[in-house]
Symmetry: C2
Subunit: 313 residues, 2 copies
């Protein structure tokens, strides 16, 4: 499928009453440290605390009236679970969320708080897929994939659209990469609305399937990821990888200490709560800052859902 | 001294190029929890991370050219130290900051980072005063008090002026109270620009000198304060107390757990980093929320300078 400029414009129009237009912040001190002019698109201030609300809203809004009657289902223990639950609630439909029984209670509670129905399964891939199948068969709900879905990808792209609308002349936009939905959406937004803007991803060294896939030219699945950036543990999908291959400039890998130190910088200097996954993008820029001196850079702060009693500092 | 409406308007005009006009945020979830419509004036996003930048800038801008040549001095281990250092640097003058030798290195480093000269003293009142006297005598610098100073009070009042300008019909504004500069400035701003808006302070039970003074009608000095709200340990001053007595509606005391829980709510739900002192104002509103149902409330988030490795959760 080719996602056109008009597709993205339609997507933004479709979801805009269901999402916040998030603020764009800057920090003089971080600019001086990096030697660049940085604009942070703060999706931590998005509804439910992450950009995932954009993709989830768009995917549900594309369902037919009949489909909506049976609700939606997904498997996720992260932000997409909450996003789908809230987006479904806002549109008055049911959301079934399959989560591993080992997921933190706070995450299950958050999904329930947004009105989602949590179905627990054993914490392994096979149980997750069979449980999801059971739910879909039993309820007739439509399965929505957290990132390997064109409607989700387009929804995620609207964050960069807003950033580009306010700062048309960015040299680069940095995002983190996990499953690839945000990165692919951002790359499409830059391609269509600011073709001179390069899109670059940050990825944890301990979960570098996107970097490996990018190097090899084919999807290398994630195995045994090990990183504090708990939103970036997933593998790329076959729908977003071709977009990433075509439109992304580079993927920069960062160490855990670099992630934690970028996260702390964001909290201390910008006074905002950002997830470790969000800090990966800034960490990547800092790591290779020599290449970006005096440039105008956008960074997508992907979310702010953090367990405050488990901080790395 | 009577501070007029015109004084406040002049103050805001004087300092506005030296400060940020900070954003005003809301949280639907917190509104639902409290049963009111709350507007948070986010001084944690102020330059150097706290409202103190307003008062410090105003006090320095009121100095004569000759006075400026010798610089300014103060004693503070908190936000006023950083604010005076930065405001002085922005105006190209020297700042001498007397700090107890026991102050955290991170706070001394922050003052130095803003170009201030740190002079250490023994951690007691007598040493602090004699060291400050020595500095003033030796350098000719002008002593600026962190809160018991009319120019400082007027500067602090500009946060509420901006809040009122954007939300004219507030029923109440809540602030924390420590030394009384922010509370007095806020009370004056409400008195002159929104006379129907009541001003209410939150104060930690473990440092309740303002509450005691307010009850008794005369200043009761703070002794042995004990609270996580480290910006609220000081006693009221003879310049701000009369303003507080005349224009403040109430002071509500809160327990430590109430402060920590309000702080956590701000961080988790608004995704911003706010100091414990800032959370005291929200904690006070939550404690007596029955009185404020369906009201439109302003809250001044006073600052965001927190030691991230010493969080209470």
């Amino acid at each position: 499928m080719i996602i056109t400029k008009q597709n993205l414009l339609d997507t933004h129009k479709r979801i805009k009453d269901y999402i916040h237009r998030t603020p764009i912040l800057s920090s003089q001190l971080i600019n001086e440290m990096v030697g660049a002019e940085i604009y942070f698109k703060c999706e931590n201030f998005q509804k439910m605390g992450a950009f995932k609300m954009r993709g989830a809203s768009n995917a549900i809004l594309q369902l037919s009236k009949t489909e909506k009657e049976f609700g939606v289902a997904t498997h996720s223990s992260g932000n997409f679970a909450q996003a789908l639950a809230l987006a479904a609630k806002m549109q008055g439909i049911k959301a079934y969320i399959v989560m591993p029984s080992s997921a933190p209670e706070i995450k299950k509670a958050a999904v329930k708080g947004y009105g989602g129905e949590v179905i627990e399964c054993e914490p392994n891939l096979k149980a997750r897929e069979s449980t999801l199948n059971d739910v879909v068969n039993k309820t007739g709900a439509v399965f929505l994939h957290p990132y390997n879905d064109y409607n989700v990808i387009q929804g995620q792209g609207t964050a960069a659209m807003e950033l580009i609308e306010e700062h048309a002349d960015l040299n680069c936009i940095f995002t983190p990469v996990g499953g690839g939905g945000l990165l692919a959406g951002t790359a499409l937004a830059a391609h269509h609305f600011s073709p001179n803007t390069k899109v670059i991803a940050g990825e944890p060294m301990g979960a570098d399937d996107a970097w490996q896939s990018f190097q090899k030219g084919e999807i290398v699945p994630q195995t045994n990821p090990n990183t504090i950036a708990d939103g970036l543990l997933t593998s790329l999908g076959d729908k977003n990888f071709p977009i990433i291959k075509e439109h992304v400039e580079d993927i920069i890998r960062v160490e855990e200490e670099e992630i934690i130190s970028a996260m702390r910088l964001i909290w201390e200097r910008m006074k905002i709560v950002a997830e470790p996954s969000s800090a990966v993008a800034l960490a990547a820029l800092i790591k290779e800052k020599e290449k970006f001196q005096n440039q105008k850079i956008g960074i997508i702060i992907s979310g702010g859902n953090v367990q405050l009693d488990k901080l790395p500092f």
